[in-house]
Amino acid sequence: MINNLLAIKSVKKVYEGDIKALDEVSLEINPNEIVALLGSSGAGKSTLLKSIVGLVKLDEGEVLFKNTSVIGKNLKILRNSVATIYQNFNLVVRSSVIKNIMLGKVSKVSSWRILANIWPREIKLQAISLLTEVGLDSLDLHKRIENLSGGQQQRIGIARALIGSPEIILADEPVSNLDPQTAKEILSLLKEKSKENKISILCSLHQVELAKSFADRIIGMKDGRIVFNKLTKNLSEKDLNMIYKNKIDYYDK
């Protein structure tokens, strides 16, 4: 019996125009493990993350969550135990800070409450305490998202992910729209929360240095294939050269 949290078994996805986004990709994620997906643009990282939560239909292969295949009813179970963080934050920009955080738990709120816009008190309190946890305690709760900086928005994205108390967080390039300093802060916040709450993270990244300091394990992808899958400490320069064509890419990304 394998005790991994999430397993992906030889999945394939071909987009229109014969573009192979995923080609025989297999990987496992263990409980409390931070895994970084590394690769240049178009390597299939986003498609992989989307396919896990069923936003992209796979052509072949399957996704296993706690050793059960994620199809039909099980997809709902998986979706209730994952949270997602995005490159462009994907917050409701015209809504307030607190409402966006509470959206992470919207599936557990009854319909009439949503229609009447009356949220349960405990969810509100939880959202406020999470705001402090992600380092935004001085922020006005009713400020609109569109008036916040990128770093603040991503912190709210993290708070929205944490409020559902997930077992695994899927992050799709969470820091590529942020400046280097903010990127470091966001990733260390994510790492800290993951260790605190025992959450696994699968995170796609561009920057090698960030991935090295962030992840326990790094998976390199190129053209829809996994090139290497190694613990961070075993990673060598040769591996990185395999996913980035030349030195410029390496430092640039």
Binding site: V53, G54, L55, L75, K76, R79, N80, V82, A83, T84, Y86, N88, F89, N90, L91, V92, V93, R94, S95, K99, L103, G104, V106, S107, S111, I114, L115, R144, R160, G164, L170
Partner: protein, 333 residues
């Protein structure tokens, strides 16, 4: 590398010129068919008439009778006292007074077989602002029609919009079905549909409300659905990945995005319905239009002027109000 031989597209080509020429020729023939030159000829004749070079013109003939009777607008109402039950000369209504004049008529005397002139005194009860009151009551009815029609259209368009948004319709069939309903509602002009509604509901405001409501439901349904389709996909994807049901995604992530546009659409529909509510009365939809049509057919052009001025004032006031409301609801960021 930049290819040195590559050229930018020219701003226009021979083909564009050809198409323009073809369009021009088509316009020329179409203008002749529908009589566009007549506009200029008639206006030219009329201007000669005004200056005095020409004796008469078609426009002058057509408008001269009306234009003399249209001014001043009639605001008073007068009624023959013989038609008023229990008329008491010592207890007249507030601000009213009586006016009498001699009415002449001719009758054949059966004895002499000659026409004889008969003079008779007729007394009228005059209410100095009576007609204005009637117009105000009628125009309030029109405003009510507009509001109820807009309300009806909002109620109808919410489910229509949900099911005719491509990304929220449960399946293709329902999507096409709702889309076709929306198009059909929009395709039938109010002036036509009110004719059917009069057959179904009888003359009066209900026919107007139904006709306007159905037509504007078509508009709102289309606008609402297209905004739902074009809303930012990111937040919706994020919530779907968390296992949130479709309509909850719609309420919490799409509605906040599209709300400003929706307010703008609803205000537009209100504005439109207000203008149309004055017109549909012409064909039996109730409100001020019915009064307008009646007075026009009785050649009472002074009354017509009053009605037109009243409509103008109401539309103008509503324009100002809706502009203020719009900035308050949308501009306040």
């Amino acid at each position: 590398m930049i290819n040195k031989n590559s050229k930018l597209d020219p701003p226009f080509s021979f083909k564009t010129l050809l198409i323009l020429l073809l369009l021009f020729i088509m316009l020329f023939f179409s203008a002749q068919r529908v009589g566009v030159p007549d506009i200029f000829i008639r206006l030219y004749e009329a201007s000669l008439d005004v200056v005095g070079i020409k004796d008469s013109s078609k426009i002058g003939k057509g408008l001269s009778r009306i234009s003399q009777e249209m001014w001043p607008p009639v605001v008073e109402s007068r009624k023959d006292i013989n038609l008023i039950l229990n008329f008491n000369e010592n207890d007249l209504p507030f601000f009213s007074y009586t006016e009498s004049f001699m009415e002449q008529s001719y009758e054949i005397n059966p004895d002499t077989l000659l026409l004889e002139k008969i003079e008779e005194e007729v007394v009228f009860l005059v209410d100095p602002l009576g007609y204005l009151k009637t117009v105000i009551i009628k125009i309030i009815e029109s405003i009510e029609i507009a509001f109820w029609a807009s309300f009806l259209s909002i109620i109808l368009s919410i489910p229509l919009a949900y099911y005719s948004a491509r990304n929220y319709a449960p399946n293709r069939m329902i999507y096409y079905f709702c889309r076709s309903i929306v198009s059909a509602l929009r395709a039938i002009p109010e002036l036509i549909s009110v004719l059917f509604m009069v057959l179904a509901f009888g003359f009066g405001p209900i026919a107007g409300i139904m006709a306007l409501g159905l037509h504007s439901a078509g508009f709102l349904g289309k606008f609402f659905a297209e905004d739902i389709e074009n809303a930012d996909k990111g937040p919706q994807e994020a919530l779907i990945a968390l296992g949130v049901s479709k309509w909850k995604v719609l309420t919490v992530s799409v509605l906040p995005q599209v709300m400003p546009q929706y307010v703008a659409y609803i205000l537009y529909i209100l504005d439109r319905n207000l203008r149309m509510a004055t017109v549909i009365g012409l064909v039996g939809g109730g409100g001020i239009g019915q009064e307008l049509k009646g007075r026009f057919d009785l050649f009472e052009y002074g009354h017509v002027t009053t009605i037109i001025l009243a409509i103008f004032v109401v539309v103008f006031i509503f324009d100002q109000l809706s502009a203020k409301l719009r900035t308050k609801l949308i501009g306040g960021n």
